[in-house]
Symmetry: D2
């Protein structure tokens, strides 16, 4: 057993971390304020912010670009599209890099490693045809365009993905799409040009073969972003989450990914690494919250003492340290298991981190908010926004309850013949 | 021991509840959307919304007006300003009414019983001169104007109120005010005309006699609302929370409340009932969240069953019911103790509810959000906003940690000679 | 709403409390040690301890005897068997008395108000024939004999009472009893002469009409106490919990309570007040633990400060105070609802306290143990034993999970037509 | 990063696990009952049980003996005293072996790897003279004798070790020992022949140089085991915890370990690996509890379903799996850090596991108890005893609160110059 990072992972983590600390965090607050001003003057908070393009260029120059590209599937894309070292990273090597990016809401985008684009690029890498990769993957890898993933629906409990009722029916050499999706992250951004849509194609097929994934260019007639949603008051610019209606939208059958009825097969492959990324970013957020909490606890004075010396504050800081450390190890282990190949243990591990990490991050961030008093609830600190991000993670990619059920099924399965 | 409500309390609770359910809840979502549209078109979400004035008129007609006026201090104001029955209510009688109002973010304003106006009106009732009452209390009771309370400061840990550094110095027959306050609730509203300001007047006096409370009309030169703050992305219109600077602001010495150096004396009297109101409103919010959770659990289906039949959902609903019921009783008991006159037991009780209730409400609302999936995070349901409101309560009027310390001091005091 | 105790309840509570503090607590430790010595010398810890008989005599003299007798069913028994004031108490009046008794593991027995004798006496009062009452109730009220309740079975999940498989079949004018029961509390005591047995009488009847309750004198041939059980190492003398086998035990059909197939009907009536008693005693235990914790926190010094000034100890003491107060109010309210007559609300309330109170008591006692260090785990303090008692309550009279289900059913029922 | 066990660790873990499962677990219940019978017949539960000697012989034969001997200090003792492979194990290699032993209360003793003997042997290895090692270490390694560690005192808060007041004064060539210790584990066992005593030798020295560690043979005049203590009713045979008085006990100055005033230096070296062992054994216990919980959940039926399909049981099983996995990784990481040499990070990590693991184990075991109903509280299952063992760990080797303070100090230290 060896808990040390590989030299490459350590180096990338350090460089990304340094970039985030010196380049991204200092512009975070002003960027947030600028977006807010835009939103409140004419509702056009979605105008691309030039600061992001500049930072992207700088990150790309330093080879800190598309680092998410997975060793297992990256092929020549890693070398061709800027990943430092020219090879895709394993999950265990990418995880600490993702943690470093997670510190700032802007950072993942800056390194072209933000959800849902990473997941969509992975899907195109693994399941896309050469044409699909040329048309959509390459511009995504160059950050010329953005993408969305259209899965969850307002009208059904989407925690059970087989509930999905929007349709993607094959008619001749076309796919005809109808229905309504929401929480389609990325659609606020005007660069978001391509949607990965998952819909019901054959209601009579086997439960996990009823749905099909298909590429839908945003400008296809019948596609309409009905509104942008808030999560606890935040629009999460510059990507945003939208509600999208599809009204008799027609795309060529060649836009189907992998094949009709194979959406669940794709979803499974997509979600393991994606959840590792989400969780490691949440750990980065929790670490930053703990840093802010410590700094505040040492600098503010009440009743004649620094907050760090009052009541249970030190105990809460200790508990936060324990919680972050144990969660990080759990995610690193899950990443390592995924690198060993999919197994029941890896499958359980991914669900375990999906339950554990957001809850942990919420606790740590909430503690930091409380130590910051009223300021912690405001946007003077990145804590309120961080809390909301972590809270969303308890729902995104499957609510806790669904993941607990997966874990229990595997655990109980060890005790049945 | 008798847990039944008095006939008057039961009647008022039922009527307020019916009003909220039939008049306020139905317009809540549209009002929220309208405010959002105003905010995003030209940042002018603070324009008074006509719907509120209409509802206020209707509430006043039905005698559901200024119900917060306390039996102990209301005098003839209750009869003169519309309280049903013509007499102020005891805390124990008002508490269930406050719960009913707490269901909707709009309702307290509709009944002219919203913080911080209630607290400010109480202060004027108890400590105001006849002139002060005529000039400020009466228009407040008629809802012609609104008020703010300027206490917390950005530069110091305001959990220790003696930290307050903004100054209110007496110079001849004037008070000269300098400094910066934030989380001044109400200043977003253009009708908010009068600020109750608490500042350091005599740094050499005894620790609890250094501060003075003074009435500062908003239009006094030197008063400036610097910005409106968000709590987790929400501006909490139509009142809002502002940061306010005071730059050599001069008001007549006659604007001092009770007397120089007596701010803590006023604050103590103000906070007991105010915390009962806050807590009962939070219980109303939790009840509504539980209702929404039950409705959702019964109406949504996943994995072939209603959510209510899946995993731990029923247990969580049960725990929510237990938590709400026990918290309500704790608040009712605190209200009753306050009605018996201030005592160490009442003092502890007020801190107990201040710790217990917001934490309880957060748990219940969070459970409801989780049952609603992504929708629970959005503004399609009042849950996200409710969560943020309850979270703020863990900081407003003293953070949990300060209240726990008060309780422990009283508890340990029983064991020392 | 009036939270003050009735004069009679306050007086009885004060007198019982004084008796427990001055007469019972001082002999608790020595009694525990004496029992331990007996257990370890010849395993005969079950010899009745003369100290208990002496204290019983004294309690009886003072009229603090059979106070549990319920206003609703006590009839002349209250006056005839020593209850102070000659009338049975309402649940709301008895509850604070039960709390006072709960402080010491010995006290309920001293006041002839211990489980399961109280429950058995109530059953005899409500459902017993004149003969049954004369033969068994009267000696129980005089504490000449003790009783047991034989319900739970080792071979089935007894949380579902309809699982009970031991049989009580009517054959002519006899009932023939077979099977095995455990956790029959009281059977360690040699004075325990009568068992209330619940068994399957008609497997084909309606689910809640299959079982019959029958009185089985301990000396009936075929009854055998197989062993005494420990709860976490404790035998809980002087009553104890036994496993009892019934091998073709025959008693007259006249021993049936209420009638064949009516066991569930009896069980329902029995359990409401019994759960109130259990919970109020647990609150007494928690109060005592908090007292011990405070005394310890003030008297022990580490790192140069009393424990009360270290880390989160004061916050934990505050949380304990909140938790006890809110739980007590919940129980008092449940008692009051029971006094108003059985309703869905009362039914839910009884389940609510059954979930809430033991968990609360466990937290408080555990905190007190932690503050006592190693000593807290030993029998030098009553805390370890108290914890175990509270832990058992999460299982006795229905595990938490079953009660949560009851509460959820009632709650969700409000939202279905 | 590599999470796979070394081949040697995997092999030893598997063999120890198999031995525990096939040889120890099957005799556990009967051994417990036999000890109980002895205790209750004549109080002589301390008679060595022949089964243990037999199992020890078998373990030794298989090379599963003294596996705790640390790579860093074992020298030739590992080869000479039976450790499989002839070399001491690193912490990270021993940790999974300790987990396997932790499954059964008997197992550590069977493998001669139980506390406090392991800690005492380590102290002798690292700090003992050749004479001390020959006289005491070698018979300990052969399990011919047992040892105790006399540190905690009844009269002072021993969580602050500098509070220790029992004295060990050097007078000429003797050490004179006076005072009272408790929670001296092992003294119940008649083979326990040597006590490692820590006492105040120079009250005027620097705070961490006042105490001295000295070897005190049990048969030295003036040494008296006053009584055996229970932890929640358990004596924890066959070792037990005693209260020991030292009345003018005189031993040669040559019995001093390392040197006068150096007790804290020794204690620090002793505690890191010891806490890893404790924690890994607790994880073994938690794993066993989860296995029992799953088996019970699948085999018992209530309300027509297996318990596994009722309410929140599956979620609780999932949470237990998450909790065990994350705790194990945290301990493995701490072990690995210790293997890299002592550092602030390692120092924090040891305190982190000491807080995290017992709390985790308590939750998992408690859940398993609850699923077992009344049986879970009894000694029919090893759960009640396991819970008590885990609870003790929250106090032994420093209470949680002290460890949290250590962690917070290190964490806050990162933010101060």
């Amino acid at each position: 057993m060896d808990f040390s990072l590989s030299p490459r992972a350590a180096d990338l983590r350090d460089r990304v971390r340094a970039f985030v600390t010196s380049e991204v965090e200092p512009v975070e607050a002003e960027t947030h304020r600028r977006i807010t001003r835009l939103r409140e003057s004419d509702g056009d908070q979605w105008t691309p912010d030039p600061v992001i393009a500049e930072l992207q260029a700088k990150a790309r120059e330093q080879g800190l670009w598309n680092l998410f590209l997975p060793a297992a599937h990256a092929g020549s894309y890693a070398a061709d599209f800027g990943t430092d070292g020219g090879e895709g990273l394993t999950n265990v090597d990418y995880a600490p890099v993702a943690e470093a990016m997670g510190r700032s809401f802007l950072a993942p985008l800056v390194f072209n490693s933000n959800a849902p684009d990473t997941g969509n690029m992975e899907v195109l890498l693994r399941y896309g045809t050469a044409e699909q990769r040329e048309q959509w993957l390459e511009p995504l890898l160059r950050a010329e365009i953005r993408s969305a993933f259209c899965m969850t629906e307002p009208a059904v409990a989407s925690s059970d993905a087989t509930n999905m009722a929007a349709t993607a029916r094959l008619e001749g050499d076309e796919v005809v799409i109808n229905g309504r999706k929401w929480w389609s992250t990325g659609v606020g951004n005007p660069d978001c040009r391509i949607f990965v849509f998952m819909g019901l194609s054959d209601p009579d097929a086997d439960r996990h073969s009823r749905h099909t994934m298909v590429l839908v260019p945003r400008d296809t007639p019948g596609v309409k972003v009905e509104r942008m949603l808030t999560t606890m008051g935040y629009y999460d610019e510059p990507l945003g989450h939208g509600e999208v209606s599809f009204d008799d939208v027609r795309v060529p059958a060649a836009n189907v990914l992998l094949g009709p009825g194979r959406a669940f097969e794709i979803a499974q492959g997509r979600l393991g690494p994606g959840r590792v990324h989400h969780c490691m970013r949440a750990i980065g957020l929790a670490e930053r919250a703990l840093e802010l909490a410590c700094a505040r606890a040492l600098s503010r004075t009440a009743f004649g003492k620094p907050l760090a010396s009052l009541g249970g504050n030190r105990e809460r800081i200790a508990d936060a340290r324990i919680a972050i450390n144990r969660s990080r190890l759990l995610v690193m282990h899950a990443a390592w298991l995924l690198d060993q190949g999919m197994s029941r243990e890896a499958y359980s591990a991914v669900s375990e981190i999906k339950v554990e990490v957001p809850l942990m991050a919420l606790d740590v961030i909430d503690m930091a908010i409380q130590l910051h008093g009223g300021g912690g609830m405001s946007d003077d600190f990145p804590l309120a926004n961080a809390w909301v991000g972590a809270r969303s993670l308890r729902l995104a990619d499957g609510p806790d309850e669904v993941h607990r059920n997966v874990i229990a099924k595997i655990e109980l399965g060890k005790h049945t013949a």
